[in-house]
Symmetry: C2
């Protein structure tokens, strides 16, 4: 099976009009740089990276700049040495200067890598989580680029970790197939929602069975206190409340705010400050304990996650499915988190992220950590209707997906509607 062509599309959903996804620093039109690997052999590999609207065309341009590494390659050759393939993309002697392994270039790399993984899982006729669970530890580890992380984790240790986790794996897989993976909801507390809407959404979410709720906090402490009081009042004293600052504070301000908000018993504070500030997160973590610090959705690569773990800066590892270089880099982070005994609680939302991360959490439970303690996978109820195999949340859990692949194929009619700027929805905006 040879990859004969790489098609890349600019897909955008006009979500900003409803203030969905509004937080301290973002107000976007949820978008995707959407990659399709054509094979001419009856199967396609699909992958996307999530963006926030404007600028999606830059990521599309980055995929075009990388695709010469992909077109004409045989899938068997790629998966025989996925680490080398990853490095073809990330250590390109000219493009590397634009990263390395961060930002737009790495997000484009992620879209391509995830499409390759999707194609591989589809050929194996397995959902991605099962494909990962079934790979021999030696083979899975061979897909990971350990460059810059060997001071924390070497391939042999990773292999041993995966072998050790085989104990009880069958029972955990049966449990996942029966119960699904625990989730929390972010749909209630967006910053742009009026208070009454927050109350209503909390009540609806409780009725649906949710037990953990995330709210957005911003720069104004008074607003944060008012909104936290509403959330805590609605969800009661025992359900979990998480707070998400979306990077809007400096280090000292983070500590001041969280000391004032501690009385609402937050389980974690997410993205208190710059995603680049490892030492800052470590200082905040020491100052606000026992509130846990969470970050990761904008963590650019495995090198930054390595340091967040080394510095004991975070308690919750919010691995993102497409900001880094694909499944293999996400697995590297999951393995490092396990070594440091930190809980992987993936970042989701946007478009397609929930479809992706359910696979990573289920894999983590069955094949790496073997634990659900302190672990919840983010769920946001947006845009699932555009996917061929949408994720399903039931009783505050992700229902374990069973169809082959990485669950990321977008329906052809949605592509026709939302491709930017030629799709019907955008042409209506123009008119």
């Amino acid at each position: 099976m040879k990859i004969t062509n790489v098609v890349v599309r600019d897909i955008r959903f006009p979500t900003s009009a409803q203030q969905d996804g509004s937080d301290a620093l973002n107000l976007g039109d949820y978008s995707a740089t959407y990659v399709v690997l054509e094979t001419g052999a009856g199967l396609e590999g699909h992958g996307l990276t999530f963006t926030n609207g404007r600028g999606n065309e830059i990521v599309v341009a980055a995929v075009h700049a990388l695709k010469h590494h992909v077109v004409g390659r045989r899938l068997d050759d790629i998966v025989a040495d996925m680490r080398a393939f990853f490095r073809d993309l990330t250590v390109d002697k000219q493009l590397r200067w634009l990263g390395p392994e961060k930002g737009i270039l790495h997000m484009a790399t992620g879209a391509i890598l995830n499409a390759v993984w999707d194609l591989w899982a589809k050929r194996e006729k397995k959902p991605m989580w099962k494909h990962l669970v079934d790979l021999a530890p030696e083979q899975l580890v061979s897909t990971i680029d350990f460059t810059y992380i060997t001071d924390v984790l070497k391939p042999q240790e990773a292999i041993e970790m995966l072998h050790a986790a085989k104990a009880g794996a069958e029972a955990r897989e049966a449990e996942m197939r029966r119960d699904g993976y625990p989730a929390y909801t972010t749909s209630t507390g967006w910053l742009g929602y009026p208070d009454e809407k927050v109350r209503r959404l909390c009540r609806e979410a409780i009725a649906e069975g949710w037990t953990a709720f995330k709210m957005k906090v911003g720069q104004n402490l008074e607003d944060n206190v008012r909104r936290a009081a509403i959330m805590r009042e609605e969800i009661g004293p025992t359900r979990k409340l998480m707070m998400d600052a979306n990077q809007c504070w400096d280090v000292d301000e983070s500590i001041t705010q969280m000391k004032a908000l501690a009385r609402f018993d937050p389980w974690w504070i997410e993205e208190p400050t710059s995603p680049d500030d490892i030492l800052g997160h470590a200082r905040i973590a020491r100052a606000v304990a026992p509130i846990g610090v969470a970050t990761g959705e904008v963590c650019q690569n495995r090198v930054m996650f390595k340091q967040l773990l080394q510095a004991d800066a975070i308690k919750f590892v919010q691995v993102d499915s497409c900001r880094m270089g694909g499944v293999n880099e996400a697995v590297a982070v999951i393995l490092m988190a396990n070594k440091f005994k930190k809980a992987v609680c993936p970042h989701a939302g946007g478009v397609g992220l929930c479809e992706y991360v359910q696979h990573l959490s289920i894999f983590d439970y069955i094949a790496v950590s073997g634990s659900l303690e302190d672990r919840l996978c983010e769920y946001v109820d947006h845009l699932h209707e555009h996917f061929v195999d949408p994720c399903v949340a039931r009783n505050a859990r992700y229902v374990t997906p069973l169809r082959p692949g990485y669950s990321i194929d977008i329906k052809p009619q949605s592509i026709a509607e939302y491709e930017f700027p030629t799709g019907r929805v955008w042409q209506k905006f123009v008119a």
Copy 2:
């Protein structure tokens, strides 16, 4: 004076054919995303960001995505609140997701910001260094975005630092105008050069008066030892030898290599490992002392530099002129370096970087650090002929530039020759 249009061009020089600029991870065609701010008032602002060839078109696309923040703005309004202007570009509610403040998007931001600064200096009829020196400390500090660095440096402290450095500034300015700023050369030891070429270039450089020399090192220790022996033999025991690994080692490997190379008495080891690895650099610094650790050319923003300083991970701060968000972010780093008493030794080379950084070093000496101790500005003898006001190195020093602006205007005939892919040089390659 209003900015009426933003023109952006893809300029590439086919340097890879000669192995110029070859190192452990890069072999590029030195390129520039070249921005011209048109005003219709007799002055233009020019700015560029350096890239390594392929992918320059992605940075061009990023400038297009940002230019709506610039077109139609009056220069007076921008410079009255440069911090707000910087945040218009870096905290765009949709584009920010693609960074924030890193990689392609931040390099594009830098090209635009530097063009604004160039326009401002030209209107003041001063070279950039002099424009910076003459700004009141309050006004210069007002251009800086202190977000995420207030735990290390607050605006008031920065103002006081600049006021304190006024003592002796006139004498230092006279010294710079007379003697220029000390430099070192990187032109001798590119990794792709054969040994005999390295010997010849060392002898030529010594004849030109150079006293500090940088060589590239790679993954093969035996090759590194052989090449270091040649360099040390040629330059003798007293001249400075710097080594540059261009990120090709992991943390433990860095320590092993430098312990073996210590007998050649390197003054610094540059970029031993991932530019993102603050904790790794700190460990290397402790292990290889008294050899100093240097990094910065790929340091993505002020938040990363802040941590490199906090962690005592580097002795030499290799600020880059266009990877970060323009002059104002570079000044933020120069001020933080001064607080931590570390030496700013800017990164240069590529195309246009030498023209840029001479201004930053001269400003640092006159108005911030007041010291030349341990400070050398990188010089590479490439592509200066394409600039209207090229930098000049004489007696191992940069000759202080005197023409208004940031010295970055490229000659119209060079643009016509090297614009990609339409320029005459590239059309010849195609033919």
